[in-house]
Structure formats: structure tokens, C-alpha cells
Symmetry: C2
Subunit: 326 residues, 2 copies
């Protein structure tokens, strides 16, 4: 939530000369993205987002992230369209940083998701999974089982300063998941971070998916589990079966979860919970003194994880069993 | 440079129903304004800025600030146009805060002002002074001589932790200015903060003046002096006489500085320097531990102040004496 690098108007106007985006009319730093600098541009051709990538690691993955958005756009998924410069490149350099321009998507993310929103995101997620099938690049998910072990080591016994006994709880859960994590489910491109603030709506109609810096190749149903956790729990962490039903039905209407995916789902949902629990825990333990940004409470996801630990099958979600493919 | 209050899409859409600004398409928190929350809105009718006023003091002055912008717009000054709701009010309440909507001005503020920019701001400032003549509301300048004394007391001997001897230097200067501050020069509405980041250009052409929270009634030539300091010194604090000449000539082409204003100008420029020196000094001495925003260096203005102390008359600025009115 910041702008780390300012850009002079002249420099930006020069940069834009190598793009076919029209004349620059204005640009504003926007309070989005925790690791990059983002600007909303108005030009004679429309609105765009300019991102300056502040970290080297992200830059190495830019061909994947930007290539994926272009691939998805070409297949009718509503997501930002990376703009190519006159050399055909989707990113180049501005203010000493890798920089990319994507078109601006109108829409608002739902602060209070309702059942219609949950259905919308289920359908859009499935369409993204289908459209990603023939994307040629591959990026391993750094935040799957191996990554969770690294995160738990980084937190270490300090985890108990957040909640008594948390380290052992996580160690036990991680051992359980590691021993059982499935290796034979359908894989493909996943968004891996499709929280409400990354999904735009105009009214109840989904207008676009944004923010792909966690996208990677992993189990498709793991992405579904991440979304279920992000969209179908209330603020008091009660599970909303009506939203879940709408979400699953919409997903299955585009891409039917296989029998194996359904069987594994409670386990995947536990993994999806521990993934965010662990990154939030490490962030929480490493907040700089007097930092501006308040870290998210890692314990929110302890409650979601405990819920899934009590679930044995899809039926326990109160979700009607999706029809299996014939 | 922050968004302090988030607003839910539903709440914002409800709020906008009482305005004639079209259907909401998107809104982004923008990294501008240090005391308020600002959002850039796209609607079916165009682009707007929504401001949530976070401090009570600002709210008390809203009728002045918003009324002034409407007054200036009506007289052809390019500044944001406050939008009235169906009750005819230019501000109401959103998320528990006073909130106003102004139209969005295209344009970019010059990070490296050139001579053309300086001429543009001189002309626009004079037009604003002329257009403000019949504005009926009055707001005393809280940052004139009385306010400077309050600020110096707030800083106190801690000023010397910034630079050895600074407190005595400021006390002596303040006594000098207080004894001589003119009371008989032309007064009117002044912007009082017309720095480059508050002036938009498209190319070399000025497209608008923004950000009126310091606007008040005071000596018009004091506003000219604030601008001279903000626009006509280089980054090494050398005085650029070419820019100053362009600035004064453009101002005088619309509203000729009187003989008395010209005589008083070096003194007014010293006052304009100490005003920003003192607010920056107090901010600098009161930065919260670990704050996100880096305070501006108050010593920048010591150098500008020392320059003006060496000036005896307009001619010493290297500026050709403006023609006096017949």
C-alpha cells in the first residue's frame, strides 16, 4: 500500500512513446500492492496501470506472470491485458526498475461478498483453469508443502508468542499433510491468491480477475480450496454453506471436480489454510518496529484450519455432492 | 500519502446516488494528501476525486475551501469543481467523515519545473487573485506572523538539535519581520501553498490548480512570494533569475504588482521562507518513531531565507523592474 518510486512526468511520457497507448494525460500513485509501485494512468486512449517492480525476484518471474495474463485475455478471461512496446516486449525499464503497463479494469472488489459474488468467482476460477491448460510456461509453486516447511522453520518456537502451543500444532498438522499430500490430481495454472480484493464486480456481475504475482502451476483443486477459504467463511469464521454451495456449483458448471479431487478436498482445504496461516505468521513475527502496515492476524486461519480438520468429506461441507462425470 | 479509511463499494454506490455523477465503475485509493483519504473514482460520466476529511479542523473550513473552488471555477480558473448533491450541498457524510466529490483534473505536476512552467504558474496565480476578488467568505491565515510565533515556541530550543544556533537565528528574523510586516498592501484570497505538486500541466500548458486546504485571505503579494520560493530556486538553492523573470512578467501581465508590493517584496519573501521553514521544523521535531513518511528538511528554507536577507529591492533579484501602473 505505497508508492516506493516516484516517476517524473517527462520520463514517463518518454517511456510511453515506445507503447501504443496514446498521449499521457495524468498519473496517480495508487494505494495498492505491498511490494511494487503502482500508478493509474489516464491517456488519450483510456486507462492503464503502470507497475514498477521493486524486487528482483518478481522481475525474474515477469515473463510468466505477464505472459499468463496475455494468454488468458486471448482466451476470453477478463484480466488485465499487458501492453507490448514497439519491440514486442511486455516489460522494459523505467526509473531503473522493470516496468510493465496493463490495461485498467473497471470494477470494485466486494468488501462484503454475497452468494452471487461467490458464484461469480467459482465460475471465473474454473474458466481460468480451463483457459490456462495450454499455457506453455511453467512456474513451480514456492508456497506448497516444501515452502510451508521453510516458513515454519522461519517462524520457529517464536510462533508460541502468538498463541501458546501454536508451533507444535503447526508441526503436527504439517507432518500430517506432508504424509498425505496428493501427487496425482489434475494440475495446471492456478491463481493461488484469489481473495475478494483480487476480483472485481460491477454490481453482482464479475468484471475481472487481477493480481497474478502468486500464479504458478499446481493442483487445480488446491486453488479451489484457497478460494473456498477466502470467500465462504464469515467474519466470525463460521462456514457459510449457502455461499459454498453457490461457489462449487458455479465451478462445476464449467469444470467438474473429479472424484479424486473431491475425495482429497478436505485435505487440500487444510493445506490452503496452513499456507496463509504460515505466511501471515512469519509476516507477523517480522513486522518492523513502527511499521505503517498492520499485519494480518495469523490466528484467523487457525480457526479455518480447525474447521477443515473436522471435515471428513465434501458432504460435511453441507454441499450437495456435485455430479461426477459420466 | 495514504488511505486512512476504506469504503465499501456498496456504501460508496449508495452515497453517490445523491449526486449527479453517473454510475460508479471503479475507485482506487490514491497516494496523495497527508491528512485525508483520497479516492480516484471512474463513473459512467467521467473521473472524480472523493475526499474523506480525517480531521475536524479541516471540516470546519470546508465551506470556505469548497466554496472557493466553486467560485473560481465559475470565473474560468481551472481548478477542481466541487459536485453538489441533490440537497445542493458540496459536502456530506460517508464512513462517519465529512466527504466531498470534486471533478478530476487531467494533467501532471512538473517534477523539474522549467521557465515555461514558471510563466504558467505566474499567470494562473494572478488570474486566481483577480477571480477571488468578489469571493464573499473570509478565512484568516493561521500561518502568518502570529502563527509563526506559535510555531517557533512549539519548536523551542530543540531547533538547535537540527542546526546549531537555529533558534536564535529564527527568533532574530521573526522579531525583524514582526516589526516591519506590512499592513497596507492589497489583500484577497490566496492559495498559500502553490508548490509544483499543486499545479498540473499538459506539456508546457497549465491545466489546473489543485489542493486548496491552505487557502485564506491575506496579502496577495505574500502568495506571489511563496510561489517565487517554490518555483524559482534550483535543487542546490541557487536562485534562477530567468525563471523569476518569466514568473513575474506573467503575473504582472494579468495583475500588476503595485509599487508598495514591489518595495515590500524582499521582506514578504523572507516571511514566505520562514513560514515553510517553521512548519517543516516543527514537523521534523515531531516525527513519530518509525514513521512511514520522511519529513522535509527544514534547512532547505534556511538557505532560501538567507538569500532573501541579502536582497534590498526587486532589482536585486535580477528581475527587470515591472512597469508600474500609470
Amino acid at each position: 500500500m505505497a508508492v516506493y518510486t516516484d516517476v517524473a512526468a517527462d520520463d514517463l511520457a518518454d517511456f510511453l512513446k515506445s507503447y501504443d497507448v496514446g498521449e499521457l494525460l495524468s498519473y496517480k500513485g495508487i494505494a495498492e500492492g505491498v511490494e511494487n509501485s503502482n500508478f493509474l494512468l489516464h491517456t488519450s486512449k483510456g486507462a492503464y496501470i503502470l507497475t514498477l517492480y521493486e524486487k528482483r525476484v518478481a522481475a525474474d518471474d515477469l515473463p510468466y506472470f505477464l505472459g499468463l495474463m496475455a494468454h488468458l485475455c486471448a482466451r476470453g478471461v477478463n484480466c488485465p491485458q499487458p501492453q507490448k512496446n514497439r519491440d514486442g516486449e511486455v516489460y522494459s525499464t523505467l526509473a531503473g526498475r522493470p516496468a510493465a503497463i496493463i490495461n485498467f479494469l473497471e470494477g470494485m472488489w466486494p468488501r462484503r461478498p454475497n452468494v452471487m459474488h461467490c458464484a461469480g468467482v467459482g465460475e471465473a476460477l474454473a474458466k481460468m483453469h480451463v483457459a490456462g491448460r495450454d499455457f506453455p510456461l511453467v512456474r513451480k509453486n514456492p508456497l506448497s508443502v516444501d515452502g510451508w516447511h521453510t516458513l515454519l522453520e522461519a517462524a520457529g518456537p517464536r510462533a508460541d508468542t502468538v498463541q501458546h502451543g501454536l508451533f507444535n500444532f503447526l508441526q503436527t498438522e504439517l507432518d500430517y499433510l506432508t504424509a498425505r499430500w496428493p501427487g496425482d490430481l489434475p494440475v495446471g495454472v492456478i491463481h493461488a491468491d484469489l481473495f475478494p480484493d483480487n476480483v472485481f464486480f460491477l454490481g453482482d456481475k464479475l468484471s475481472g480477475l487481477i493480481d497474478f504475482p502468486f500464479a504458478c502451476n499446481d493442483l487445480l483443486a488446491f486453488d479451489v480450496a484457497i478460494c473456498l477459504n477466502a470467500w465462504c467463511f464469515e467474519q466470525d469464521y463460521s462456514f457459510n454453506a449457502t455461499k459454498a454451495r453457490a461457489f462449487f456449483n458455479a465451478y462445476n458448471s464449467v469444470r467438474q471436480l473429479t472424484e479424486a479431487e473431491q475425495k482429497a478436498f478436505p485435505l487440500l482445504a487444510r493445506g490452503a489454510a496452513i499456507r496463509f496461516l504460515l505466511t501471515r505468521l512469519v509476516d507477523f513475527l517480522n513486522v518492523p518496529e513502527g511499521a505503517f502496515v498492520k499485519p494480518k492476524n495469523p490466528l484467523d486461519y487457525v480457526r479455518i484450519l480447525r474447521f477443515h480438520q473436522s471435515v471428513a468429506s465434501m458432504a460435511d461441507y453441507g454441499v450437495e455432492a456435485p455430479k461426477l462425470p459420466a
